[in-house]
Amino acid sequence: RSFPNQSSLTQRELHFDRELAKHRITAWSVCIFTSYSSFPPQNHHASCTLLYKKPFVESFEETPLLVAVLTYMGYGILTIFGYLRDFLRDWKFEKCHLAREREEQKDFVPLYQDFENFYTRNLYMRIRDNWNRPICSVPGAKMDLVERVTPDYNWTFEHTGNVLKDVINMGSYNYLGFAENTGTCADAASECTVKYGVGVSSTRQEIGNLDKHEELEKLVAGFLGVESSMAFGMGFATNSMNIPALTGKGCLILSDELNHASLVLGARLSGSTIRVFKHNNMQSLEKLLRDAIVHGQPRTHRPWKKILILVEGIYSMEGSIVRLPEVIALKKKYEAYLYLDEAHSIGALGPRGRGVVDYFGLDPSDVDIMMGTFTKSFGAAGGYIGGKKELIDYLRLHSHSAIHATSMSPPITQQIITSMKCIMGEDGTTLGQERLCQLSENTTYFRRRLHEMGFIIYGNNDSPVVPLMLYMPAKIGSVSRFMLKRNIGTVVVGFPATPIIESRARFCVSAAHTREMLDKALNAISEVGDLLQLKYSRKNRHGSEGTDCFSFLESHQD
C-alpha cells in the first residue's frame, strides 16, 4: 500500500475489454480510491461500463497528510514509552503482570521471543477493555453487556455483577436480524433440539450424515441457484479445508490482498503458488492473469494446470464490494476459475438477498465455487459451498471437512433452514422480503448521515459494513469507551487487522435496527466525533472535491 500522496482524489475508470469499448451506453461505473492505487491511472473510455446495470460507487478518501504524520508520531511515542516500560519491568520498578514460565522449564528454549509480544504488552494492553466484552443476551439490535472493571490497567478483569442493559448493538454481523430468541426460527430450533439433541459425534462420511443436513443442502442449492451444495460446520474451516481439495502443486491462486485469513490459510495449505493482486483492482488482476498464462510456471515454464481467483463478496474491514462483473469477464476471457467467498454478502446484498451475484444481476453459474457462511445473515454457524454437481460430488469425497470433522449440529442446521426459507418467502410471508428492504434502507440512511457529518467512511454505498476512519491509535480506545458510555456498542479495529495508520471503527447495519436506534447511534457518533475531532473528511468541509466527484458522474452520464 503506497503512502498517500497529496493529490486528494484520483478518479478513474477501469478498462476492461476492447470489444466493449465500442458500445456507448449510459450505465457507468466509477471508482474513487487512492490509497490503494499504485498503478498509473489509465483512462480507457467507457469500457467496463456495460457490465454494470446500476451505479457502483465506492470511495476510499485519502488520508489527510497531517493526520498521517500525527498517527505515525503517535505510534512513535507509544513505542518509546513501551521500551521505557519494558525497561522498568526488567529492573522491577514496575510490577509485571505477565504470566511467567514455570521454574522447571526456565532452561527450555523460550516459547515466545521477547520482541514478539512487544505490541501486545505495550500497545494492545492499554486498550484491551474494548474487545471481548462479554454479552449476556441475544446479539440482536440491542444487547446486554456484562460490566467489567480492571484493578490493574487491563491485565485482568473482574465482573462487577452489574449488567449494562439495552446497549445498541452496532457490532454484530446480524445483517438480517435473525439473531433472535423468539419467533419461528427459535421455535424450530427448539423443536429440533428436543428431537435430535445438539451433537452428532461423527463425520459426514462415516455416520453423521443426517436427513437435516441433506435437507439444508438442497435448500441452499435452490437459494443460490446452483446445481448442488454442501454445508460445513465452521465458516473458517469451509475455506481452509476445501481450497486444498481443489488446487494443488502446479496450480496458481490469484488472491485479493485483503482476503480473509481463512482464504489465505486455505491457499497456503493447498500447496499452490499464490500471487496477490491489489484490492479490487482489475488491472492488477488482468496483468497477473496474462503474465501467468504467457510465462507459465516459474523456472520450468510449464503451463499452469489451472488458475483459481479468490475474491470476497463484501470485504469486512473495508466495506467494499467485489467488482464481480469485471472479475467474471476476466475469468471467462482467460479461462480461470472463480472462488467467491460470500461470508458477509450472502443475505445482506441483492434484491432477493442472494448475495453479490444477485446484487449485480448475474448468473450464478458463472461463478465456479460459491462459498458463504451461515454465521452472519442467518444467525447460525457454519459455511457452505455451492456449484456444479461434479464439483460438489468431488468435495463429498475429498473435502477434509467431510471426512475428518464432526458434522453440523442439528439445531444450528434447523435455524439456517428456517431463516433461509423466510428470506425466500417459502414460509408464506413477506417477512423476509421486508427484512431485506429494511436492511438496504438502513444502510443507505446510515451511510448518508455519516457522510454528511463529515466522517471519512470507506467502502461501497450499498454495503452494510461501514468502516469509519479513526487513524490515530489513541482514538481507538476512546471512541469505543465514549460510545459505550452513550450505551452504544461498537467495534474498533487497529493494526494488525488494518494497515498501521488506518485504524477504524466499524459499524454493521442490521435490518433489526429501527430508525430511532440508528438516530440515537448517529447522534452519539457525531458527539464523539466532535469531541475527538474525527470529522476528517475534506469533501464535506470545503465542498469542492465532493462536487467534483458528482459532477464527474454527471458529465459521464451524457
Binding site: 441475544v138 439473531a179 452428532v200 459425534s201 450424515n209 473458517f236 477434509h400 470433522a405
Partner: protein, 472 residues
C-alpha cells in the same frame, strides 16, 4: 519475525568484529557493486520475454486449463453417504433401518441426555442460536467464559480456551506456537488435524515411528548433535513433541510417562491431543494424564474436542496461562471465526456437570470397552487393532487382498451385512492421497455406555457371521 532471524543478526555483527581488514575491504567493494546493480536498469527475468503482443495473445488463446475437479463416477463407493434419519443416538435409523449404534463417538451417551437438551433449550431461549461475531467483537458470551472456567477446573489446569470446531482446535494451536524454523517431533499415526496444523505452522517436521520411544530418542539425539554444532541457533529454535493420548487412527495409547522423561531430558515441549481420551480415560475422565498419573503441568498443552464424549460441538485447549493465553491473539481458528453458539456451550457445561457428578460412568465405559475388545477377538479373517481400553477400535483384514479398493469393498460388505441385522457400523474414512501415513482399511467399532451386554454379544456375533460369510 521467525525465531531464526534473530540469531543470524547477532552472528553477523559478531562476524563483523572478527573479520580481517582485507575481508572488510572486499565486502565493501561487493556492497558498492550491489548498489550499482540496484541503480542500473532493472528488469524482471519473467518479463524479459521477446514475445510480441500477438504471440502473447496466441499463447493465451492456446492455454487450456485442467478441469476444476476430475469427474467422479456416480457409483463411487463413498459418494452416497449413509443417511441417518432422526437423532444419531443409541438407537439410530440408518438408511431407513433402526439399528444399535456402534459407530458414533458418543462414548458417554450424552447425546440423548434430557438434562443436556433442557440446558441447551434454556440457553436457546436466552441467547438465540448464532453468535453473529468472533470472540473479539461482541461474540464472547458469559456462557463461553463459564465453560472455559469449568473446563480448566475439570482438567485441573490454570486456563482453558474454547474453539467453535473440533478440527480447528489443534490445527490452530500448533501454528500459534511453532513457527517457521522450529522443529516438531510427531508420531507417524497422528490424526489429520495435527497434520494440517503442522503444515500451517511451516515448521520443520520430524516423524517418529508410531509409539516408538527409541526412534523418538534417536531423532532427539540427532538434533542434540546438530545443536552442538551451532549453539547460538539452538537457543532460539523451539521444539515440540506432538502426540495423541489415544490415537484415533490406531486406537493405541501413547506412552506418556516415557514422553515426559524425554521432555525433560531433551528440553522439548509436549502437545497432547486428547479427543479420544478426554472423558474416557482416568478415574474422573480427565484423560491420559490421569490414566498414567502424570502431573498435568508437565504437559505444555492439551487439546481435545467436545464432540465425542461431551456430545456437543467445538473443542478446547487447556494448560498453564503462560501457554494458553497466547492463543487468544494468535490462534487463527479462535480469532477469525465466529464463536461457539451459546446453546452448544451450555450443553457442554451440562455434560461436564454430569461427568463430575457421576465418575462411575468411566468405570462402566472401561468395562464395556474391555468386553467389546474381548468379544471381537477370534473373528475369522479380522483382527482387532487397539488397546482393550480404547472406546473406538479398528477391525482390520487379517489378509489383505492386495488392493485397497477391494479390501474396502469387503469391509463395506461386512458393514452392510450388519446394517441389515440392525447393527450400525462404519468404515473408518481417510483421505487416501493426503494422509501422511495411510492407515490400513478398517471398520470402526465404537463402544458407548448405553450398549448392553446382550447388544454387545449380538454385535460381535453378527460381525463374526458376516466375516465367515463374506471373507470365507
Amino acid at each position: 519475525m521467525a525465531a531464526g532471524q534473530q540469531w543470524v543478526l547477532v552472528e553477523m555483527v559478531q562476524a563483523f568484529y572478527e573479520a580481517p581488514a582485507y575481508h572488510l575491504i572486499l565486502e565493501g567493494i561487493l556492497i558498492l557493486w550491489i548498489i550499482r546493480l540496484l541503480f542500473s536498469k532493472t528488469y524482471k527475468l519473467q518479463e524479459r520475454s521477446d514475445l510480441t503482443e500477438k504471440e502473447k495473445e496466441e499463447l493465451i488463446e492456446e492455454w487450456q486449463p485442467e478441469p476444476l475437479v476430475p469427474l467422479v463416477s456416480k457409483d463411487h463407493p463413498s459418494l452416497n453417504y449413509d443417511v441417518v434419519t432422526g437423532p444419531p443416538s443409541h438407537r439410530i435409523i440408518v438408511n431407513g433401518k433402526e439399528c444399535i449404534n456402534f459407530a458414533s463417538f458418543n462414548f458417554l451417551g450424552l447425546l440423548d441426555s434430557e438434562r443436556v437438551k433442557l440446558k441447551a433449550l434454556s440457553s436457546l431461549k436466552k441467547y438465540g442460536v448464532g453468535t453473529c461475531g468472533p470472540r473479539g467483537f461482541y461474540g464472547t458470551f458469559d456462557v463461553h467464559l463459564e465453560l472455559e472456567e469449568r473446563l480448566a477446573k475439570f482438567m485441573r489446569t490454570e486456563e482453558a480456551i474454547i474453539y467453535s470446531y473440533g478440527f480447528a482446535t489443534i490445527a490452530s494451536a500448533i501454528p500459534a506456537y511453532s513457527k517457521r524454523g522450529d522443529i516438531v517431533f510427531v508420531d507417524e499415526a497422528a490424526c489429520f488435524s495435527i497434520q494440517k496444523g503442522l503444515q500451517a505452522s511451516r515448521s520443520f517436521v520430524k516423524y517418529f515411528k508410531h509409539n516408538d520411544m527409541e526412534d523418538l530418542e534417536r531423532l532427539l539425539k540427532e538434533q542434540e548433535i546438530e545443536d552442538q554444532k551451532n549453539p547460538r541457533k539452538a537457543k532460539v529454535i523451539r521444539r515440540f513433541i506432538v502426540v495423541e493420548g489415544l490415537y484415533i487412527n490406531t486406537a493405541d495409547l501413547c506412552p506418556l510417562p516415557e514422553l515426559v522423561k524425554l521432555k525433560y531430558k531433551y528440553k522439548v515441549r509436549i502437545f497432547l491431543e486428547e479427543s479420544m481420551s478426554f472423558g474416557v480415560l482416568g478415574e474422573h475422565g480427565r484423560g491420559v494424564t490421569e490414566h498414567f498419573g502424570v502431573n498435568i503441568d508437565d504437559i505444555d498443552l492439551i487439546s481435545a474436542n467436545m464432540e465425542n464424549a461431551l456430545a456437543s460441538i467445538g473443542g478446547f485447549c487447556c494448560g498453564r496461562s503462560f501457554v494458553i493465553d497466547h492463543q487468544r491473539l494468535s490462534g487463527q481458528g479462535y480469532c477469525f471465526s465466529a464463536s461457539l453458539p451459546p446453546m452448544l456451550a451450555s450443553a457442554a457445561i451440562e455434560a461436564l456437570n454430569i461427568m463430575e457428578e457421576d465418575p462411575g460412568v468411566f468405570r462402566v465405559l472401561r468395562d464395556k470397552c474391555k468386553h467389546v475388545h474381548k468379544a471381537l477377538q477370534g473373528t475369522p479373517g479380522l483382527k482387532v487393532a487397539g488397546e482393550p481400553l480404547a472406546p473406538a477400535l479398528h477391525l482390520q483384514l487379517e489378509n489383505s487382498t492386495g488392493s485397497r479398493t477391494n479390501d474396502l469393498k469387503l469391509l463395506r460388505a461386512i458393514v452392510d451385512y450388519s446394517l441389515e441385522r440392525r447393527i450400525a457400523l462404519t468404515l473408518a474414512r481417510y483421505l487416501d492421497k493426503e494422509e501422511r501415513f495411510l492407515p490400513p482399511p478398517s471398520i470402526r467399532v465404537v463402544v458407548t455406555v448405553e450398549q448392553t451386554q446382550e447388544e454387545i454379544e449380538k454385535a460381535a456375533q453378527c460381525i463374526r457371521e458376516a466375516a465367515v460369510k463374506i471373507l470365507k
